[in-house]
């Protein structure tokens, strides 16, 4: 029935073989129709606008709600036919799900132009205006352009039949591949790793500044953090373990053996950290559920 996006051979009304003239015609038709709708929307009277946005949001969300509550087909394997109309809807929902799940990314991807536009607007303005920051803005624009050129060029080369794995070997590289490798592996990725590792410094300064025995809460935080850190330092852990062992008199089954740093830290994690996180998570989950309900029914903005 509703096989809009089902990979089916031979073509239905919704698809056509690649390189077929029909497909091109259909696509152009769809584009024209789509832009037609867009122009119609431009003329939409103001009082209908909210309704249109509500409708679009509701329908999009409704797909997943239906997928959730509609009984999904039992014991289905490839090539099965639905038993009845009810089952058919279940089949269709299940088949459409992988397609629908890509929509968000596709539409989000189309909007990237707006992001680039924002960047360019700010930095081109700065370049034109001159001043101290102009050279930096120029660097930004230049490195972006270089990355786009070599990124796509390198990708294009790798797309050629059989070229991909060949280009994994540095001996077969040309200038383009070197340039892309330099920009991506040599610069971008290394800068990401550098920025990631910079956090260590900030952790040190934050701990120094904030971990003071000021209030009960701060003391609890500090003490737990210290226990966990010490349990991960094997020198301390080892010595402590020896001490615990001597208190226990070498008896492996003594209750005292539970007080090695590893066991204490493990116990804190399992019986306090995990449930307390789960406690926050319950709240956050309900919050997200409520927010989603409001978004789906367009109640969110109405509140303002």
């Amino acid at each position: 029935m509703l096989n809009l996006f089902l990979d089916i051979d031979p073509p239905t009304i919704f698809n056509a073989h690649n390189n077929f003239q029909t497909l091109t015609t259909y696509i152009i038709g769809a584009l024209l129709a789509g832009f037609g709708i867009l122009f119609a929307l431009l003329k939409a009277p103001p009082q209908t606008r909210r309704g249109i946005v509500f409708f679009v949001t509701f329908i999009s969300g409704f797909f997943y709600v239906l997928l959730f509550i509609w009984p999904s087909p039992i014991n289905r394997s490839k090539g099965d036919a639905p038993i009845n109309g009810f089952d058919n809807v279940g089949f269709w929902l299940a088949d459409a799900q992988p397609v629908v799940s890509t929509m968000t990314q596709i539409i989000g991807g189309f909007l990237i132009g707006l992001g680039i536009f924002s960047l360019m607007r700010i930095h081109l303005k700065r370049i034109v205006k001159g001043g101290g920051d102009a050279p930096f803005s120029f660097t930004l624009v230049l490195s972006m352009i270089l990355m786009i050129i070599f990124g796509f060029w390198d990708f294009h080369q790798r797309q050629q039949p059989g070229a991909g794995p060949l280009l994994d070997n540095q001996a077969n590289w040309g200038f383009v591949n070197y340039a892309k490798d330099y920009l991506f592996d040599g610069m971008l990725q290394e800068m990401e790793a550098a920025m990631f590792s910079i956090i260590a410094f900030y952790i040190l300064s934050a701990a120094y500044r904030a971990f003071r025995v000021r209030s009960i809460e701060a003391t609890i935080l500090l003490t737990t953090a210290l226990i966990v850190i010490l349990s991960l330092m094997s020198v301390v852990e080892y010595q402590w373990g020896e001490m615990v062992n001597s208190v226990a008199g070498g008896n492996k089954n003594s209750f005292v053996q539970n007080f090695t740093l590893t066991n204490v830290a493990g116990w804190i994690r399992a019986s306090v950290q995990q449930p307390s996180i789960r406690g926050i998570d319950f709240g956050v989950g309900i919050g997200l559920l409520a927010m989603s309900l409001r978004i789906w029914l367009s109640l969110e903005r109405a509140g303002e």
Partner: protein, 237 residues
């Protein structure tokens, strides 16, 4: 080899360029920051085309999505073309008169996200509720702690105690996040205060665990700078 030296040298330079912000904001940092942002923006464009639009949209629309070498003919789906005008609608955000149209693609994206959350909620929290249900009283007193060879199915005293503490932690933390109950409710107040303290224990433990990972990354970076580059590349050249 010369290329490797160049490449690694630039990486080291970039690393210190970014680190220099630790002292204060300066031109060296600003230079590398702008390179970073430019490269990232460029790469984003490449990735969006390569990983999203080409595979999931262009390829499916034209049916050219088969790997090189497979002879399978795949059909194209013209309905995908409708996504172009929807994407274009987003660009109306700067129009003074028609900016509301940009709400349509956003509405679709948010609608899809919101619709998923009902199922996602159950899938995520169902198991979490289930793991929280643990016996809080012991079934046997033959041993206080868990012996070396525990009898399967028995709950020992220390286990039950730990489970009870977990349960109390969970309930008191949730109680801390109740917003609409009167602050004069004594029981709830006590519960939420202890909830806050137990939360702090949890946060402390997270902090301790994370610290080691972040330090390891720094150590790895320093290894890259001093051992991989300075010692093995510069000095042994």
């Amino acid at each position: 080899m010369k290329y490797e030296l160049w490449k690694t040298g630039s990486s080291v330079l970039a690393t210190f360029g970014l680190y220099s912000v630790l002292y204060r904001e300066n031109k060296f940092y600003r230079f590398f920051e702008h390179i970073f942002l430019g490269l990232a923006a460029g790469w984003t464009l490449v990735v969006i085309w390569v990983e999203i639009e080409k595979d999931q949209w262009w390829g499916k629309m034209l049916g050219a999505n088969n790997d090189a070498g497979t002879s399978m003919v795949q059909s194209g789906y013209w309905l995908y073309a409708f996504l172009v005008p929807i994407g274009v609608m987003g660009y109306f955000v700067f129009s003074k008169k028609h900016n509301w149209i940009s709400k349509i693609p956003i509405g679709i994206v948010l609608g899809l996200y919101a619709g998923q959350q009902f199922q996602a909620w159950l899938q995520r929290y169902g198991p979490q509720i289930s793991t929280s249900l643990k016996p809080i009283l012991p079934t046997t007193f033959t041993s206080i702690t868990v012996p070396d060879n525990p009898v399967p199915g028995e709950v020992y005293f220390t286990q039950a105690l730990t489970n009870a503490i977990s349960l109390f932690t969970l309930l008191s933390v949730v109680a801390y996040f109740l917003f609409s109950f009167n602050e004069n409710n004594k029981l709830l107040n006590r519960l939420s205060t202890s909830g806050r303290w137990l939360l702090m224990i949890g946060f402390g433990a997270i902090f301790g665990t994370t610290v080691t990972m972040r330090f390891t990354l720094l150590i790895d970076r320093m290894h890259f700078v001093w051992i991989d580059f300075v010692r093995d590349m510069l000095l042994r050249r």
